[in-house]
């Protein structure tokens, strides 16, 4: 018979062994995502359940192909365009804060009142620095904090880099909003206006024009327009040509002025950077610093306009 003392011994042994074994297995799986920059990103699968997406052109290492992290994306638009690696570059030197991007985005997606999926911030990094405008779409991070925490795969990473959102699956826990360091996510706190006539009358996550109460939404890089070979609505609308959109695999980016440039050169020659690089989110949106701006600066220390809409 098991005495109390020997029971405790056996139990202590088991208690010590279980996390060790589990930890070793977990470490093997997570090793894939740690270390070098070229390592496969920890993102959800493109159609095939429980596999890694390799965003960088690094072949899978033996034994690292499966990972518990991956999700099973819900819809046809889930997988994304396999040969593409979408990237946005925003030239802050050209942005004059007109917010045409925001308006075009809201018009294209019929975004509910009070939401701005690409929001233009008035920024000033320190007292010595000049103020500047900062348009902030979703960063479509490769190490996306929102994708990590979503409990139901309502948000996931496509093979072409887009972080998608499915409001027909979202349970409204708002963990993704808490996790996003860029504040890029909005919630439908009340019943949004009824579906608009036209293309988006039926819910299509690639267009995201139909909205639902109690779910989270955000910028999705307009996959519907991309499928048609067009730029996202904000890039098209920018009168300054400040928003470039392109494909990393093709190494090309285009703006509303019809300029098509080498993406790598655009970033490298203009000291492109990513927002909050230190957080390790690996954003897919690059910024060119607001150097030699040709427009008036934002009002210094001025109050920020309150946007219309938003329930009380």
């Amino acid at each position: 018979m098991l005495s109390r003392r020997s029971f405790l011994k056996v139990f202590a042994g088991m208690a010590a062994a279980t996390p060790l074994a589990g930890g070793a297995a977990l470490f093997r799986r997570w090793r894939a995502g740690l270390g070098s920059r070229g390592a496969p990103a920890l993102v959800a699968a493109p159609g095939v359940d429980r596999t890694l997406v390799h965003l960088a052109d690094v072949p899978a290492r033996d034994g690292d192909a499966t990972i518990a992290y991956a999700a099973s994306p819900p819809a046809p638009a889930a997988a994304g365009l396999a040969q593409r690696r979408w990237v946005m570059v925003i030239d802050l030197a050209r942005c004059d804060g007109c917010r045409e991007c925001t308006r075009a985005c809201s018009a294209m997606h019929f975004a509910p009142a009070g939401q701005e999926w690409i929001r233009v911030y008035e920024m000033r990094d320190n007292d010595a620095a000049a103020p500047y405008w900062l348009p902030r779409p979703c960063m479509h991070c490769d190490n996306a904090p929102c994708v990590k925490v979503c409990p139901v795969s309502a948000t996931w990473k496509r093979a072409d880099g887009i972080v998608m959102q499915d409001t027909s699956r979202c349970i409204g826990c708002r963990f993704c909003i808490a996790a996003c360091p860029y504040g890029a996510r909005s919630f439908n706190w009340v019943e949004p206006p009824a579906a608009q006539p036209g293309r988006g009358a039926a819910y299509d996550e690639a267009w995201n024009q139909v909205h639902r109460k109690g779910t989270t939404e955000k910028c999705i890089f307009c996959p519907g327009l991309l499928n048609e070979g067009r730029l996202p609505a904000c890039a098209t609308a920018c009168p300054m040509g400040a928003v470039y959109f392109g494909d990393q695999a093709e190494d090309a980016a285009t703006n509303s002025q019809g300029e098509t440039v080498r993406l790598s050169a655009l970033i490298q020659q203009n000291a492109g950077y990513r927002l909050m690089e230190e957080l390790g989110t690996e954003p897919r949106v690059y910024y060119l610093p607001p150097r030699k701006r040709a427009y008036p600066a934002p009002p210094q220390g001025g109050g920020h306009a309150v946007i219309p809409g938003g329930h009380r």
């Binding site: 990590k148 139901v152 808490a178 706190w189 109690g214 306009a305």
Partner: protein
Amino acid sequence: MRDWLGRPRFSTREEAVLASMRATGPAYYALVGALVAVIGWGLIAYAVQLRHGLGVTGLRDNFMWGVYITNFVFFIGVSHVGALMSAILRLTGAEWRRPITRMAEAITFASLLMGALMPFVDMGRPDRILNLILHGRLQSPILWDMLSITTYLTGSTLFLFVPMIPDIALLRDHFKDGPAWRHRLYTVLALGWRDTAGQRHRLETVMAVLAVLIIPIAISVHTVVSWIMAMTLRAGWNSTIFGPYFVSGALFSGAAAVVTAMAAFRWAYHLEDYITERHFKRMGYLVITLGVIYAYFTFNEYWTPLYKLAEHERGYLAAVFSGPFAPLFWFTQIAGLLLPLLLLTLPTISWVSRLQEIKLLRPRPALAAAGAAAGVLIFTSAAGAPTAGLGDGAIVRALPWVLTVVAAWLFASFLPVFRKHPIASAVVASLLINVGAWVKRFVIIVPTLQYPFLPIQRAPAGWAFYHPSWVEWSITAAAVAGFILIYILFSKLFPIVSIWETRAEGEAVHAGTP
């Protein structure tokens, strides 16, 4: 106790426990009625929220979590006391725990039910709850919460039930009054307990296994609860010590809740023979120990970012220490931690009684001052605050300071009174601790949201601050009422003190043989 197979006699204190289950006076019904009314109102508020969406709360895009998640962390925290009292004290052989273990386990049960409810109240789409099972992804801390809380609920329900089996058998055999369903319930739940040696051995084994298992489960529960914040990058939440910090706060608030329950049941059910001043003293030491540990974690959590003042940490730190959230934060530190610990140490501080030699520190002048302050407050608010001659906002701005001074004065004056009434002072301390615990969770959650990485800009009118709405307060009140209701209903159905376990204390039980 073998011979209660024959015709047992209950000791007077056991009769008191049994009488508490039998005698149900008007006060009890009034309390139940009041609680049901509060719960009903909360249900109406929830119906409004279901109908119109979470927009009826004060939550907004920047403040995606608020009072509901505060309640969640608070109730789950209070629930930890079951594991502490029953498992840790059982394993360490603290025999004085026996009369209060069941109270602690019942607190665990009731507060876990309320805590587990909160994330569902907080959900935007409760109709899609099944998605958590159909499409659940294990790497989301929400799933960890689900798994650990359901495991803990199962474990602690077992831990409440298993040690109750001998008592249920006793009720089955000797508690004949009341409706027939009650007797049938006891018969079923007693699981055929006949108090044989084999049954007793199995019971002891199961209890020992449960006691060992429940400790890591309980710790895991509050650790993963803290991780819904600590797994984000947000300044103020992005902390490696959130797990132990939350666990220590949980044990502290739970132990304080047990002190309140001890006093309430002792008074209402006349359990003075079971729950003595000795128990309050012991629990007081336990609460002090846990409070000091919690204070240590709190200090760690704030001092390290405060020293470095990294850019993104500055916002919430300034807000918490001297900004808009400072009154709440300092309330938790002074009224929720320092004063309760002082109150609990009072019996060992001899100079306190000499305080009354100071004329100003006698209760009467302090009460008079408090009355005068209240009078001025009512007068100014009735006269309309910014009337001429009152210096516009000056009074309103000075108000927190005036109230603090008056409260400190009152407290100092009543210290000697508290010293003479240790149980009353323990109750005041534990109530302060629990109010402070709730506010502390609010202060952990909300200030961080006020200072995200990118500043809050272009928010629609009224969206830049978090003002909890009547819906949130109503549902919170209903959750507290639900907790109390479950607790007192439980106490009418099952003895709130473990009869068979306290018999083993070796006290003279059998006054005579039949």
